[in-house]
Symmetry: C2
Subunit: 374 residues, 2 copies
């Protein structure tokens, strides 16, 4: 999707991809095969680019730090990336700045022998269940465990290699996400706050605006901008929040275009991908207003039969107003293969049509997500 935005502005891009079948490699002329975890591959890419940026966080931070030291433009910089890559760094940084977060404790990898007693002590203060997170490497619900008792903590600890974050189990009334974009000099903008439906840590549906009072959305946007400034973000920076007992808590951050912002391609004046490119190139940002009263965006995951959604494109395109985005990935059950956005006048209508198109493409609507007749 970033390639499409780059194409419109004739910005020449080079993609570092693990394989020629990677989604970005399929639609970009200039592809370098290699790994973002390899210092050599990152150095090879840096030598070909004026600016290096990212669409995922599985990167070698030390290698990027070296490149930054050598004068390469890495945007966002490693300071920002560190916060997005490491949940322990993120939680500590936010807490130190007075940003509301769930209660947490950090367990250093070096003190493995103390972990179980630390967990017992944390649960004493915050009651079971608690949330155990790997500080690094998690995404889409991976690397996060809800642990109901000390007995069940031990096998979880064995799955984690590095530092650990313990968190209180927050009762969630709604989940929000706010998307910010920031230039190197500090110019900042944010899109309207969205409400997301997360199931097992995976975003299934994005609604703009959500169902909460607009003042909550504005407070979330304000928090998002504070966090982006604190992180010295450059480019798009996403902040996911819990709405819990009348309070907003920052849950996660991402220093890149984010799934909760895919709706901006079809529903806002400037997409997150174009504004990300503008920001990392230090060009003026585009408007972030939404262009419809209601926007719904639904992720398409491979269903149990792993049907290729491309085989049902015609059925999906026949849904009025459905904006289909497929990523060209091989279909597997549970793999994110695309998304559908619908813009319209009412929340019920745009949700119903977005799900209709997503289901045509093979997505299975979770029972937790109920549709009201539009």
């Amino acid at each position: 999707m970033m390639s499409e935005a780059a194409s419109a502005l004739a910005l020449p891009i080079v993609v570092l991809a693990d394989a020629p079948t990677d989604a970005a490699a399929l639609v970009t002329r200039d592809v370098v095969l290699g790994s973002a975890r390899s210092a050599d591959d990152l150095a090879g890419l840096a030598a070909r680019c004026d600016v290096m940026t990212f669409d995922h966080e599985q990167v070698d931070l030390d290698a990027l730090g070296q490149l930054e030291h050598l004068g390469h433009r890495i945007r966002p910089g490693t300071q920002t990336l560190h916060m997005a890559v490491d949940k322990a760094v993120m939680r500590s940084t936010l807490e130190a700045a007075g940003i509301p977060v769930p209660a947490f404790a950090l367990l250093a990898a070096s003190e493995r022998g103390e972990h179980l007693s630390a967990i017992a002590s944390f649960a004493d203060s915050h009651r079971w269940p608690i949330v155990v997170k790997s500080a690094r490497g998690g995404y889409d619900g991976k690397g996060v465990w809800i642990v109901p008792s000390l007995e069940e903590a031990a096998p979880v600890l064995e799955k984690i290699e590095g530092d650990i974050v313990l968190e209180e189990y927050v009762s969630i009334d709604a989940e929000l996400a706010t998307l910010v974009v920031r230039r190197p000099g500090g110019q900042i903008a944010s899109w309207p706050t969205v409400e997301t439906a997360q199931i097992d840590g995976v975003c299934r549906e994005v609604l703009v605006p959500g169902t909460l009072d607009p003042s909550v959305a504005e407070e979330a946007a304000e928090l998002g901008r504070r966090v982006a400034e604190l992180a010295q973000a450059v480019g798009v920076f996403a902040v996911e929040l819990f709405w819990s007992n009348g309070t907003l808590l920052v849950n996660e951050v991402a220093a890149r275009p984010h799934n909760s912002g895919h709706w901006t391609i079809d529903g806002s004046e400037t997409s997150q991908f174009e504004n990300h490119l503008r920001a990392v190139l230090d060009l003026p940002l585009g408007g972030t207003e939404r262009t419809a009263a209601h926007v719904a965006s639904v992720n398409v995951f491979g269903g149990p039969s792993a049907t290729d959604p491309a085989e049902h494109l015609g059925e999906a395109l026949s849904v009025k107003g459905a904006r289909i985005h497929l990523y060209g990935k091989g279909a597997r059950p549970g793999r994110k293969l695309g998304h559908v956005t619908v813009c319209g006048d009412t929340a019920g209508e745009v949700r119903a049509r977005a799900w209709e198109a997503a289901e045509a493409l093979g997505a299975v609507r979770p029972t937790q997500i109920e549709l009201v007749e539009p």
Copy 2:
């Protein structure tokens, strides 16, 4: 721009390009170098594609006919292309169907000795000046001459190799274009009719809606659909019209996405490029409604200093609401390098901002195009 639409739907495309620096080749992964005038190159492309389609008319029609005969899917088909490629075929076909066109006469290449007397006779019936067109190969005003007298006809005739179309010189009160999209089975849709500012046969500015009465726009759209059906069009089909003394006359047709429809990327529910792909793949068409009260789209041609518009991207992007599209072509005076679209509430405002951004990119606003303060 078609590549961007294909990317969103994960439609795998192969581009036949004359050179690796061609605009489409710069942004497409799979490029075959070759010529659309070469039978071998067209056959090579056909062997790799389920459907072959076009973004220009400089094609070898005979070779395409052979491929069609062999069972390759050529969309639009050669019958449609013939009408778009050959102005003599187009004029005759439209006249035979009762579609209003300027008065014309055809001069066959084989009767070269009779041409001057035929011109004298045509001018007797329709008065000087007359318009002399090469039946094939013209675009953007090339291949069209306004001839004021018999003496000046002779050197023009020498420049033309094939068949010739003579036309009355129509007094033009406004120029319109209507964009139609049609599936193989006949499903048809059209975007709102636009008004264009043409200078020396080159489109400089597109306004949606135009300044004429909406009934004229609807009549133009209806004519456009009739012509597209007559041509058995598949994909996008553009019809350019003159508004002359209270009458609509069809001037030109194009069987491909068209410059007068670039505004649809940012100003309508489905872009001409996406709907062209949908149509040639026989997929359901997307909505063609405009999404703003007023849309202006301005072409960016290289100015006298041939500055690369990419060098001034920041200035252009700072214009509120300017949607910039650059084609990645080398800058030359008079070469079409990109376009700018602005959506908004009033015609004055969107025109002023579109020109502001285009001028930032190096375009020179012709004195014939005047802006009223928004």
